[in-house]
């Protein structure tokens, strides 16, 4: 039994690492298409990663060991968070190690070290990025915990595998749509904010007035930059998986036999790419918000998730 679990965990890690650059490529492709230009191919991110891994690393003379350690800590914490989320089978083997709060705080561990790395180089850009991420993160994480928990209440648990397993068997989902919809909206806003998509932060720009995530990683190069890019892609995939599996887990394998898992995996891939396309469309439709409009948007997300929680009790009585 032990060996099979470990194999499953490794499989999940490999799948996550493989699919995440594809998702980023897909979103860029959709945006390019909507701007009536051909755009790079969907697999371009893989080439970028390979190029970056081969390049030399340039490290700032002011920086300390934190600067060099942060990429690895960020990559490890995001991957561990990924391993806790059910992808293709509802009972994820590492489920006992953590629940939704653990996932959120693992991501926070990554953000914490990213903020420190931003400050470490001593440049104004890094400081600016860290300061902005501090306020954005402090508004998104509570919203994230509460929205997932609002859904968790239907399953009576905060453990992701249980939530997915119960909702997958069509038990709770139909009964009270309003709180679920609110929680879904809140989580979608959080996804855009955490992964630095357009309304909150423009991933493609290097203009110091607007960039939040990019500013912190400005100093990175070579394999460090590759790891960080890969980690942010992983984070994007993680959020999309949460959106799809927690709110619409149909088609996921409920028992760990290979055939069902393969089918579940395929269904998961389709759902995630659909969401990626949707994110691409959203990015093309909206312009980037001013920084202190973003905090109002995130305030809305926080209130939405809180209301989802409150409505869950009041409506069901």
């Amino acid at each position: 039994m032990m060996a099979r679990n470990i194999a499953l965990v490794v499989l999940q890690a490999v799948v996550l690492l493989a699919v995440s650059p594809f998702i980023v490529g897909l979103i860029r492709k959709v945006k390019a298409r909507l701007q009536c230009r051909l755009g790079a191919s969907v697999v371009q991110p893989y080439y970028d990663l390979r190029k970056l891994f081969r390049k030399d690393v340039v490290v700032s003379s002011n920086a300390s060991w934190i600067f060099t350690a942060t990429p690895y800590i960020l990559f490890a914490s995001t991957l561990t968070a990924g391993l806790l989320v059910p992808l293709f089978v509802s009972k994820v083997p590492l489920g006992f190690a953590g629940d939704i709060i653990t996932v959120v705080y693992l991501l926070a561990l990554g953000t914490f070290f990213l903020i420190l790395a931003g400050l470490d180089a001593g440049s104004a850009f890094g400081g600016m990025g860290s300061s902005r991420v501090a306020i954005v993160a402090s508004l998104t994480e509570p919203a994230m915990i509460l929205s997932i928990f609002a859904v968790g209440l239907t399953a009576g648990s905060t453990n992701l595998s249980t939530i997915v397993h119960k909702t997958a068997l069509l038990e709770g989902i139909v009964t009270d749509p309003p709180p679920h919809l609110m929680a879904l909206a809140a989580l979608f806003i959080v996804t855009l904010a955490e992964t630095g998509r357009v309304p909150v932060d423009n991933p493609a720009t290097h203009l110091e007035l607007t960039m939040i995530h990019e500013a912190m990683v400005l100093e990175y190069s070579g394999r460090y930059l590759a790891l960080i890019e890969w980690a942010s892609a992983l984070k994007l995939l993680l959020f999309l998986t949460l959106l799809s599996n927690v709110f619409a887990p149909w088609g996921i394998a409920t028992e760990p036999d290979p055939l069902w898992m393969a089918l579940g995996g395929a269904v998961w891939l389709v759902k995630v790419s659909g969401l990626a396309v949707f994110v691409g469309v959203i990015e093309s439709m909206f312009a980037k918000l001013r920084l202190f409009r973003v905090t109002d948007l995130l305030g809305v997300a926080f209130i939405l998730s809180l209301l989802a929680l409150v409505f869950f009790y009041t409506l069901r009585g």
């Binding site: 400050l119 440049s123 860290s130």
Partner: protein
């Protein structure tokens, strides 16, 4: 075993009190004798604590005193032995640290006084936690406040230190008055001051009286713990003390207030109490947590930042205890045990990492001689060990996995989320709102400590002090190292801590939950409802992280094929970067200040001095931002105004004229004669 440990502890501390005063001559002897004796005493304390936790029947000894109503009686039940253990472990680490830190005070302040007061402080705290008689508890409590006052004003040549000390002394005394009222009401009911009588009072307290007792205890112990309306003295007093003392003040002394609350609510008042008590404690906890972290974010003096964080963490502890009390009032004993256990776990964690952080701040202060973070910078290169320990403390206090802060905050989250089992609708909604405030607090704490660590340790030194800083002495490093090790151990090994805590919560709440709290052979924590509800296993998380990092390292090297690394200037749009261009702490928190400006009501002052020639080129700019001290302005100043106004008006009765004095006597004589006639 306990008697032996008790004797060692007592001799250690009393030696520590006497020795420094006798050896007048050289400060080093005084320093070593004081802190050596303190270390010995702390070892004794650890023995007592461990003995108490493992002993079946509580160890009890009482010496009658010649004063009526006062018996010097001591009782070592699991709750007090936990706190004795806490005090002794932190005391031992701080004693080792102080050996190096106090060297800075040679020649400027009397080391003998500092050393003996330090020992008296530790002894009085241990006695507070062991006391089994109301009168003796009050005596030890006042002694603790008095000794800690004289420790806070060690550097009494500075005016703000004196003000902070006096403010602290008055607030603790007001607190003690309320605690005295609580015991008075118990005395009224049971006729004696002994805790035994409080515990088994014949008939339960009448409704009105028990509410009075609840409020008086909350205010009394809250004033010492620093809950929000009564917290204003804390950010003055803790930074003013020498760092090794403020580490004990913030880490351990405010925990005696938590001990008091738990003792009065769970032990004396007994389980069936009205629901709104738990809600009041929860609300106070949530508000203290949120406001504590918000004011901490705006603070740029490292030690008062840490002091505000103590207010925040006390709030989090009260959230746990409040949730426990709510469950208790609805008869859900096992959930109440979970809430209380989470609160106590966070108490231990906070004592350890707050102590560590203050010791770190002390190390920085001893090297740079300033507490202002804006003048730090780049200290990680010159003080690597201190940076490492401060980082461990920062990770723990921000509750990041797999640290100990995360475990206790996770437990408190779970106890708040279990609210759906409460029949009453209002409570069902209130607890998750408390959870949302805890989530917001947690993440703001993360931002605050990212700022504290980032601005102080990283990038380039911003002042000449920071440039000349060197690593601190070995004793200070070992002191911090011990606390850091305990911090990590508490994080990775909850399965050791939980059974010990369970021995405490079982008698208090009547439900033992150690069994179903630890599943998978103690690997993971599952709150009461079994694994499928929720479970976390920090050891497993730690292992997975430990596996992925080397794999990523190897993978990066294999994929890339190169290991070359070049050092070059940071990119500054072509300019070469100077420390003035780095981000400052004020800059870092400006977005937060702007988002939450309704709470802060900031006042910004910007004066620009232009060149004579043209109005467009500024010679000098002076920028100052000030946060509105709301509580001080609308709560404390009016009280002080009222008292001094009353004093001025009353001054007229001593107007100096003999005839007026004679008239006083005449009128009193006539009135009393009429009364007697």
């Amino acid at each position: 075993m306990i008697q032996l440990a008790f004797l060692i502890g007592l001799t250690g501390y009393s030696l520590g009190i006497l020795l420094p005063l006798l050896t007048r001559r050289c400060p080093t002897i005084q320093n070593i004798s004081a802190h050596g004796a303190a270390f010995l005493g702390a070892m004794g304390g650890i023995g007592v604590g461990v003995g108490g936790l493992t002993a079946e029947v509580p160890y009890h000894v009482s010496i009658p005193s010649s004063l009526p109503l006062l018996t010097y009686s001591i009782r070592l039940d699991p709750l007090s032995s936990l706190f004795v253990l806490l005090i002794s472990v932190c005391g031992a680490a701080v004693a080792v640290y102080a050996l190096g830190y106090v060297r800075e005070f040679y020649g400027r302040y009397s080391i003998g006084a500092l050393g003996s007061l330090f020992n008296a402080f530790l002894l009085s705290m241990t006695l507070v936690v062991l006391a089994d008689d109301g009168f003796f508890f009050l005596l030890a409590w006042e002694l603790m406040s008095l000794v800690s006052y004289f420790l806070v004003v060690t550097e009494h040549d500075k005016a703000d230190v004196r003000y902070a000390g006096f403010f602290y002394l008055i607030m603790t005394h007001v607190g003690t008055a309320f605690i005295f009222l609580t015991f008075l009401m118990f005395f009224q009911e049971t006729g004696s001051f002994s805790f035994e009588a409080f515990r088994h009072s014949a008939q339960p307290m009448p409704e009105g009286l028990s509410t009075l007792v609840f409020l008086a205890a909350l205010i009394g112990f809250g004033a010492k713990a620093g809950i929000v309306p009564l917290h204003v003295w804390l950010p003055y007093a803790h930074p003013a003390a020498p760092s090794h003392v403020s580490s004990l003040l913030s880490g351990v002394m405010i925990k005696t207030a938590i001990y008091g609350l738990v003792r009065v609510y769970f032990d004396f008042l007994g389980p069936p109490f009205p629901w709104w008590w738990g809600f009041v404690v929860l609300a106070v906890g949530a508000i203290s947590a949120l406001l504590g972290v918000m004011y901490a974010l705006m603070e740029h003096d490292l030690k008062s930042l840490l002091a505000y964080h103590s207010v925040e963490n006390i709030g989090i502890i009260l959230l746990g205890i409040g949730a426990g009390m709510i469950f208790q009032s609805y008869g859900l004993a096992s959930l109440a045990a979970l809430g209380l256990l989470a609160g106590l776990y966070h108490t231990i964690n906070h004592a350890v990492f707050k102590g560590l952080l203050f010791l770190g701040a002390g190390a920085l202060l001893s090297q740079t001689h300033t507490r202002n973070m804006e003048e730090y910078g780049g200290l990680i290169r010159t003080m690597p060990w201190t940076a490492m320990f401060f980082l461990i403390g920062a990770v723990s206090i921000s509750a990041l996995p797999p640290s100990n802060g995360f475990v206790s905050e996770w437990l408190i989250f779970q106890s708040l989320f279990l609210s759906f089992q409460i029949p009453d609708l209002l409570m069902k909604i209130m607890l998750p709102i408390g959870a949302s405030m805890l989530a917001l607090t947690g993440v703001l704490a993360l931002a605050c400590f990212a700022k504290a660590f980032g601005i102080s340790f990283l990038a380039m030194p911003r002042s000449s002090h920071a440039r000349q800083a060197r690593e601190v002495s070995l004793t200070m490093r070992t002191g911090m190292g011990v606390l850091a090790f305990v911090c990590v151990a508490l994080g990775l090994a909850p399965m050791l801590v939980v059974p010990a805590l369970d021995r405490i919560t079982t008698p208090l709440t009547g439900a033992s939950i150690a069994g179903d709290l630890l599943s998978r052979g103690g690997l993971s924590l599952t709150p009461v409802m079994g694994e499928e509800f929720a479970s976390v296993s920090t050891p497993a998380l730690g292992m997975v992280l430990a596996v992925i990092v080397p794999v990523a390292l190897l993978g990066a090297v294999v994929l890339g094929g190169t290991l070359r690394k070049r050092y070059y200037k940071t990119w500054g749009c072509g300019l070469n970067l100077t420390p003035r261009m780095e981000y400052t702490a004020t800059g870092f928190v400006q977005p937060v200040k702007r988002v939450f400006s309704t709470i802060y009501q900031p006042t910004v002052k910007l004066e620009t001095e232009f060149l004579e020639e043209s109005r467009y080129f500024a010679k000098q700019r002076h920028f100052e931002v000030r946060i509105e001290p709301v509580f001080q302005r609308y709560f404390y100043d009016p009280v002080v105004m009222f008292v001094s106004a009353a004093a001025d008006r009353l001054r007229v009765i001593q107007a100096g004229s003999l005839h007026l004095y004679l008239t006083y006597i005449f009128i009193t004589l006539i009135l009393l004669l009429l009364m007697a006639g």
